[in-house]
């Protein structure tokens, strides 16, 4: 039973990629860096390279963390769709297989100034 109802009922998702004018949502989580209270949400073009996305869109938001100066995205351990993943920073988000509403997680062992 996909919903308790008096007759068959099909819901319509409200956040499909078609609603974002050619852009898509991407979520990013810097593991164990809890100065940031949640994973960050971005609305970007899928043609953007992953490198540009991380350096120009994501990085400026991470500057408040004392570890941000030492952060090297290329040396981080990455996860996508809950499994280990090797990103291609020169390829686009789409070519990296980053879907609408995908969550990218990266772990930077050794960096934990704020102890989280």
């Amino acid at each position: 039973m996909a919903v308790a109802s008096t007759k068959p009922y099909i819901g319509a998702p409200r956040d499909t990629v078609a609603n974002f004018n050619g852009k898509q949502l991407v979520y990013v989580c810097w593991e164990h860096h809890l100065l940031f209270a949640s994973s960050l949400m971005f609305c970007v073009e899928p043609e953007m390279t992953l490198g540009d996305f991380l350096h120009h869109t994501v990085r400026p938001l991470l500057e408040a963390d004392p570890d941000s100066a030492a952060l090297d995205f290329t040396r981080a351990e990455w996860q996508k769709a809950k499994i280990a993943w090797t990103p291609d920073f020169n390829a686009s988000l789409a070519a990296n297989g980053i879907r609408h509403k995908e969550l990218l997680r990266f772990h930077t062992p050794g960096l934990n100034s704020l102890g989280a």
């Binding site: 819901g11 499909t16 960050l40 408040a64």
Partner: protein, 506 residues
């Protein structure tokens, strides 16, 4: 000629029997299923509606009499508050953030509950529950009105109160309680009773009103104590209705147990998510605190809830599935949520602030195992950023939970250093959750939750298209006035200036 009759005073039970007599009958020209179309599809089996009685046996004459008395008491105090500069008697204007959050996020829930109980007053075939639900519908509307009325006295002087109705519909943090009520209102009548009568009334309102209103009393806020206690005087009746409903379902048919248990699991967790906001108000927004969130949960959550579940064990009911996750979260949740409210305060119609040294000393005393270890270092760093002239603002919007709609700020139950991240795919779309509880609730009824209108993703869709200024206009948020740090706010300046004129002749 006058007849002398023995006018025997009717007993409570007889009066109640007379009230409910003839209000229910066997239908003849329509089938009972046509008259009560929503009472079977949830799968709850009922054999005898007559078995459900209101243990208070409140009749209409008594109801009106005592409710009128409560209203007279309430308005006498509200008048006194307005006539005696009550808005200057609070401990500190910092306290007002709790009230702003209350009127934006909680009071509209009272109104939603009123709508739901009006519907149940029609949909249940039993006379006892119908009468009790109709009374509760009136109570809930009274609560919404008295709360809004009490806060209107603060709205005359302070920022952030004026757009509470728009906030209810549009503000991102209000979507947490709103989704709770929308979920309940779009469920069947029995599930609504578990959601509101049991989870909200029995488990939540004690935590919401009792320590919070005691806190308001500590903070010199006469208006809020009054609406709180006036509302709470009805809650005892509401809780009893919720408890009677659970007992009734369990006693009517053994097949009802798994359905009831699933709802208890679901609505305990949904309610617990709302309590994160209440706990944060208690730990961070009251300048003078009466007890910590953890202490309040021990009395009203673990103590009272534990007694309830022990009692229901004879029907085969067990503790809610996520009870242990909840207990593990007690020492973390308010700190994690408050950290979020601070960094996103450019988008809140209330002020937040960095806890003072005194606040932090209190927090480490109340949370000896967690505050100094995990949360103090973050606040110390945030304090340094502010002193350096680069205050911490997180303009990266948050990932929201598809079910409870909270910005997923909570950590793994067994690892307070790792955010709890859960995701699922359904019909080709990705969905994210804050916890195992919310993920399970989603998979029980995915067609319901895929329709959630999540505030953050909506902001990037037309017509707003990611324009934060346009969003502020739409939610009624005055930038630089209603939002941001309390330190340096207009509320802070006005309160200091007005209090000075009230206590001197300068």
């Amino acid at each position: 000629m006058d007849m002398k009759t023995d006018k025997k005073k009717l007993g409570l039970k007889e009066k109640y029997k007379l009230l409910t007599r003839d209000l229910g009958w066997e239908t003849t020209y329509h089938t009972a299923d046509e008259v009560f179309p929503y009472v079977k599809y949830e799968g709850i089996k009922v054999h005898d509606w007559g078995k459900w009685e209101d243990p208070f046996r409140l009749t209409m004459d008594a109801y009106w009499k005592y409710q009128a008395e409560k209203e007279r008491k309430y308005y006498a105090i509200i008048d006194a508050h307005a006539q005696n500069n009550g808005h200057l008697h609070i401990t500190d204007a910092r306290y007002l953030s709790a009230l702003k959050l209350f009127v934006q996020a909680i009071s509209p829930g009272e109104y939603a509950a009123g709508k739901g109980f009006a519907r149940l007053g029609r949909e249940f075939p039993g006379v006892g529950p119908r009468v009790a639900c109709q009374m509760q519908a009136i109570d809930e509307i009274r609560h919404a009105q008295t709360q809004i009325h009490a806060m209107s006295n603060y709205n005359k002087f302070y920022n952030g109160f004026h757009a509470f109705a728009d906030a209810r519909d549009r503000m991102w943090y209000c979507s947490l309680p709103r989704s709770f009520f929308d979920d309940a209102l779009s469920a069947g009548p029995f599930e609504f009773m578990i959601a509101i009568g049991f989870s909200f009334e029995y488990v939540l309102t004690n935590l919401l009103f009792v320590p919070f209103m005691s806190g308001a009393a500590y903070n010199g806020d006469m208006a809020t104590v009054t609406f709180g206690f006036s509302a709470q005087s009805d809650e005892a009746r509401h809780m009893t209705l919720g408890l009677e409903c659970i007992k009734f379902m369990l006693e009517q048919d053994p097949d009802n147990l798994p359905i009831v248990q699933r709802w208890i699991d679901k609505w305990f967790w949904r309610g617990f998510r709302i309590l994160g906001v209440v706990g944060t108000m208690m730990d961070y927004m009251l300048p003078k605190r009466v007890m910590s969130w953890r202490e309040a949960f021990e009395i009203y959550g673990a103590g009272n809830g534990g007694a309830l579940f022990n009692d229901l064990a004879r029907y085969g009911v067990r503790l809610p599935l996520e009870w242990n996750d909840a207990v593990k979260a007690l020492d973390h949740m308010t700190h994690q949520l408050n950290l979020g409210l601070y960094q996103w305060s450019f988008g809140t119609a209330f002020h937040t602030g960095i806890p003072s040294d005194e606040d932090m000393a209190w927090l480490s005393k109340k949370y000896p195992d967690t505050f100094d270890k995990y949360y103090r270092p973050r606040w110390e760093h945030i304090k340094k950023l502010k002193e350096a002239g680069t205050p911490f603002v997180n303009t990266g919007l948050a990932k929201l939970c598809q079910v409870c709609q909270i910005p997923t700020p909570y950590t793994e139950p067994d690892d307070p250093t790792a955010l709890c991240l859960r995701e699922s795919e359904y019909k080709g779309e990705l969905y994210h959750f804050c916890s195992d509880g919310c993920q399970r609730i989603f998979h029980d009824e995915p067609e319901k939750y895929i329709q959630a209108v999540l505030p953050m993703p909506q902001l990037f869709q037309p017509p707003l298209g990611g324009d934060i200024g346009a969003w502020m206009n739409w939610v009624g948020l005055k930038n630089g006035v209603d939002n941001g740090d309390y330190d340096g706010s207009e509320d802070q300046k006005n309160f200091a200036a007005w209090r000075a004129t009230a206590t001197s002749n300068q």
